[in-house]
């Protein structure tokens, strides 16, 4: 059974595939990246590496994460490291995955980043694909 990291974003319980998670840290000071996508909170140093900090709430189309939030899930995508801000981290557990319940497809960012769901003690947790939360340059679409 696959292993999941359970976290909380904007009151929603979510689960990340542990294979996508590099580590879990409290990040330090953030240097802003002017004129980048709003979901790019900035850059921070993690040991000797520069990590791009992603405001996960913004990626999901929500209100920005509060500035004091420092807890983050580190993931590596296409050779770059990202720190995905989360409100709280819970536990690591194994779950059976279920596909998403069939609902009318909405242009909602939660469902675009979601990759199925798991149940913990009867509570549904959305599986978020970290790769889909990482902001992409707008210019690439042109």
């Amino acid at each position: 059974m696959p292993l999941f990291l359970i976290a909380c974003i904007a009151g929603q319980g979510v689960a990340f595939d542990a294979d996508q998670v590099d580590s879990v840290v409290d990040i330090g000071e953030i240097v802003a990246v002017p004129r980048a996508d709003p979901s790019v909170r900035g850059l921070t140093a993690l040991r000797s590496r520069v990590v791009t900090v992603v405001d996960t709430r913004r990626s999901l189309g929500l209100e920005p994460t509060a500035p004091h939030v420092r807890r983050a899930v580190i993931t590596q995508q296409d050779g770059h490291y990202y720190a995905m801000l989360v409100d709280a981290l819970d536990d690591i557990e194994t779950f059976e995955t279920r596909s998403m319940p069939l609902v009318a497809p909405k242009e909602d960012r939660w469902s675009r980043a979601a990759d199925g769901m798991v149940f913990r003690n009867g509570e549904p947790l959305l599986i978020l694909d970290l790769a889909k939360l990482v902001p992409q340059p707008a210019a690439m679409l042109a």
Partner: protein, 774 residues
């Protein structure tokens, strides 16, 4: 070649060591397929490398062994003891020869033939005993080792951790009163760490030659395979690039060159029928341009058939017919980067392997690079790959803007000026700002408001030079210079187009490297020529800007701004007189220095330094000594022509008569002009029109001609002026053509005039105008 040889020796030694256990196992069990394969691969590799490195003896041996082993693998021969012995004798001999090469000792080769003959003997006891290993040649210590890039990366990141730890330690220690001995030890540590960091960084750099060295062989092989004749020229092999970047570029480059040979260069017969030289040319150049490395692959083949690409896109359902119909040729050309498109209908063994230009582009963009095509149908294709110098160490300038710091590559910076003081003036021009730095006008970009991180006027201007032109970047402060290791930032950050990468300097806070060209592009800066062109378009009669200055003799004179490259101070030592001419030493060369009054120049030189105007027409340079620059003025339209030497005419400006100097006169020493006929229209045509507009127009107008860049429907021009190398389109108008050439030598051809020979030009114009019947 020497490097390649060393690498070959190192590699062969390594494989031999790894193979030694296989050899023993194979001796024990000749039928073992896995061992057979391992030894086959070894001799095969050696054979391949030898052909390239021109080691015929090794090639012969390995080739013979490979043949026999191939037979064994195909089941044509049973691997018996005799065969094993013979092959192993050859493997041993290869090892001995390689050691011989490393030690620079020539080995006796008389029994090589016996070893080869032994291979073909079937089921016989081999007479030759396995060749004795060469004794007495001491194994030389290897001069180089091969390292995994991962290991280098770990070294680098360990190094950065060490720097951070050192900084933290220094901070903690400085909180307390510091024992001088501790401080000395800390300084020593800092020095060592810095030195170490430098060394570790350098281990990552490699000449781009490492990327290019395999190309000649590949071109030769590919061309031979396809029956084409191709000659390859490589330039700029000594540019330094990060090792990792070199690895990332390897496959795209190979693919592009294979494509050029397969799809681009035509067969010799076809080339002859097209009137081209039978041998196709491919030119690969690397050069550093600002904070980018440019790699250009240019061929003189057929170019890309855009219509075919478009048709193919429709056929393969990449685009609909309607979409393609609405595309510009440039858009259609870009289709080659779409997945699932190959411009060839038949897939060839060489380039049609399912890896297309889409993969090439993806690879290049992955490292933060760009790829551009310059397609000349029927004449060739130039592919330009631009990769950032990221991943490599870079000398940067650290600037402060609001509460943030940014790095800018040092080599893109021309100079730094403080806004305070008389040398700099900032004027709003419409919605942009123009900075005037010592008479030079530059578009200005204030960084804080542009990045939306602060307000307030910048206190310092950093003059950034880009390929389009120079501009002034307004920042709050310039802090320091620092050598940093730059890496590509995440796609979302690079996608803004403003940054060339990110770095982690000693402070431990990440920092972004600004991309000078990208900033200018994003801010929509228009450069000098555009600004001038724009004002001219608005008011065609508008006067030309000129720099008003005080000459050495105290008189006020002006010179058209377009001719001035910069204003600078020169020390008296930089000025030399020889043969009655005065020259100025600039960057190790000399340029002519013109001046008004010789006695005044002497007086000025006695003071140690003088100010000079550096003049350029884009190619030639010269200088004019002045007392001091005053201001930029607009020259009125009517200038009364003057007859003597470098003075173009006299204009009235703010109630005072000012002599306007003629920059042309300085480029061709001085000359007395003839007076021409009145009123005819001159058409400045061809690629040199811009130059003529800047330099010839004032002269021509001063002599009573009118100039135009575009032929007018109502009035046919009396004379067309073109630069010598421009092809003349005969059907444009029937006006006589006057050709100007770039150098004096060209002027002996009939009908062509040296472009600075003002009197000859005016005389010829007058002649043409008369004959034109006007």
């Amino acid at each position: 070649m020497d490097d390649l040889l060393q690498e070959f020796i190192a590699e062969t030694r390594e494989t031999l060591e790894a193979l030694s256990s296989e050899v023993v196992a194979w001796e024990a069990a000749p039928g073992d397929r896995a061992r057979l394969d391992a030894i086959f691969r070894f001799v095969h590799t050696v054979k391949g490398s030898c052909g390239f490195l021109d080691l015929p003896r090794l090639a012969r041996l390995s080739h013979a062994a490979e043949d026999v082993l191939a037979d064994a693998r195909d089941g044509k021969r049973m691997p018996d003891t005799a065969l094993v012995d013979a092959v192993l004798a050859i493997v041993d001999r290869i090892g001995a020869i390689v050691e011989g090469i490393a030690a620079n000792v020539t080995l006796d080769d008389s029994d090589d033939e016996a070893l080869i003959a032994a291979l073909t003997r079937v089921e016989e006891v081999v007479a030759t005993a396995p060749a004795p290993r060469v004794a007495g040649t001491p194994r030389t210590a290897p001069r180089s080792i091969r390292l995994n890039v991962d290991l280098l990366d770990r070294m680098m990141s360990g190094m950065s951790d060490m720097v951070l730890a050192r900084n933290e330690l220094a901070r903690r220690l400085r909180d307390d009163v510091l024992d001088p001995r501790v401080e000395a030890a800390l300084d020593q540590l800092s020095l060592t760490v810095a030195d170490m960091r430098d060394t570790v960084t350098r281990t990552r750099m490699q000449k781009v030659d490492a990327l290019f060295s395999a190309l000649p062989r590949m071109v030769r092989d590919t061309a031979a395979e396809l029956g084409k004749a191709v000659s390859l020229r490589i330039e700029g092999s000594d540019v330094d690039l990060d090792r990792e970047m070199i690895e990332m570029m390897r496959d795209p480059l190979v693919h592009i060159i294979r494509n050029a040979i397969d799809h681009g260069i035509e067969t010799p017969a076809r080339r002859r029928s097209l009137g081209k030289a039978p041998t196709g040319q491919i030119r690969v150049t690397a050069r550093q341009s600002g904070n980018q490395i440019l790699i250009e692959i240019e061929d003189d083949g057929a170019g890309i058939d855009v219509a075919r690409i478009a048709a193919k896109a429709v056929a393969n359902d990449v685009r609909s017919a309607a979409e393609v119909a609405g595309m510009t040729p440039a858009d259609k050309l870009r289709l080659v980067f779409e997945p699932g498109l190959s411009s060839r209908d038949t897939v060839s063994a060489v380039s049609g392997r399912g890896v297309g230009m889409d993969v090439v582009r993806a690879n290049i963009e992955h490292v933060g690079g760009r790829i551009a095509l310059d397609n000349r149908p029927g004449r060739g294709l130039t592919i330009t790959i631009q990769v950032p110098l990221t991943l490599s160490i870079m000398s940067t300038l650290i600037v402060a803007v609001a509460d943030q710091r940014f790095a800018i590559a040092r080599q893109t910076i021309e100079e730094i000026v403080k806004v305070r003081g008389d040398q700099v003036r900032i004027d709003p021009v419409g919605d942009i700002k123009v900075a005037t730095v010592r008479g030079r006008r530059l578009p200005m970009l204030a960084l804080a408001p542009f990045l939306a991180i602060g307000e307030g006027e910048p206190t310092t201007l950093v003059i950034v030079s880009t390929r389009e032109g120079d501009y002034a970047l307004g920042v709050d402060d310039v802090l320091d210079t620092e050598e940093v290791v730059v890496k590509p930032a995440a796609p979302a950050v690079m996608g803004t187009g403003l940054y060339a990468g990110q770095t982690l300097p000693d402070s431990g806070m990440p920092m972004l490297l600004l991309d000078g060209g990208g900033l200018a592009l994003a801010a929509g800066l228009r450069f000098q020529q555009d600004i001038i062109a724009a004002t001219e378009a608005l008011a065609p009669d508008a006067a030309n800007p000129a720099l008003l200055f005080e000459d050495l003799d105290g008189a006020r004179r002006a010179i058209p701004l377009g001719a001035i490259d910069r204003v600078e101070k020169a020390s008296a030592e930089a000025i030399h007189r020889s043969g009655g001419r005065t020259r100025l030493v600039v960057d190790g060369a000399t340029i002519p220095l013109h001046h008004g009054d010789a006695a005044a120049l002497d007086r000025a030189l006695a003071r140690g330094t003088i100010e000079v105007l550096r003049l350029t027409d884009g190619e030639a340079e010269c200088a004019y000594a002045i007392g001091g620059a005053l201001e930029i003025i607009q020259l009125p339209a009517d200038i009364s022509p003057a007859a003597d030497g470098p003075v173009l005419g006299v204009a009235v400006c703010e109630g005072r008569a000012i002599e306007i100097l003629d920059p042309l006169a300085f480029f061709l020493d001085s000359d007395v002009p003839d007076h021409g006929e009145a009123a005819p229209l001159c058409l400045l045509d061809g690629a040199g029109a811009a130059w003529m507009d800047r330099f010839l127009r004032p002269v021509l107008e001063a002599h009573g001609y009118r100039c135009t860049l575009r032929p007018d429907g109502d009035e046919a021009p009396a004379v067309r002026l073109v630069m010598d190398e421009d092809a003349v389109a005969a059907d444009r108008s029937d006006a006589p053509v006057l050709r100007l050439c770039r150098d004096r030598e060209g002027a002996c051809e009939p009908g062509s005039i040296y472009r600075y020979d003002r009197s000859a030009l005016i005389a010829a114009l007058a002649g043409h105008a008369r004959r034109g019947g006007r």
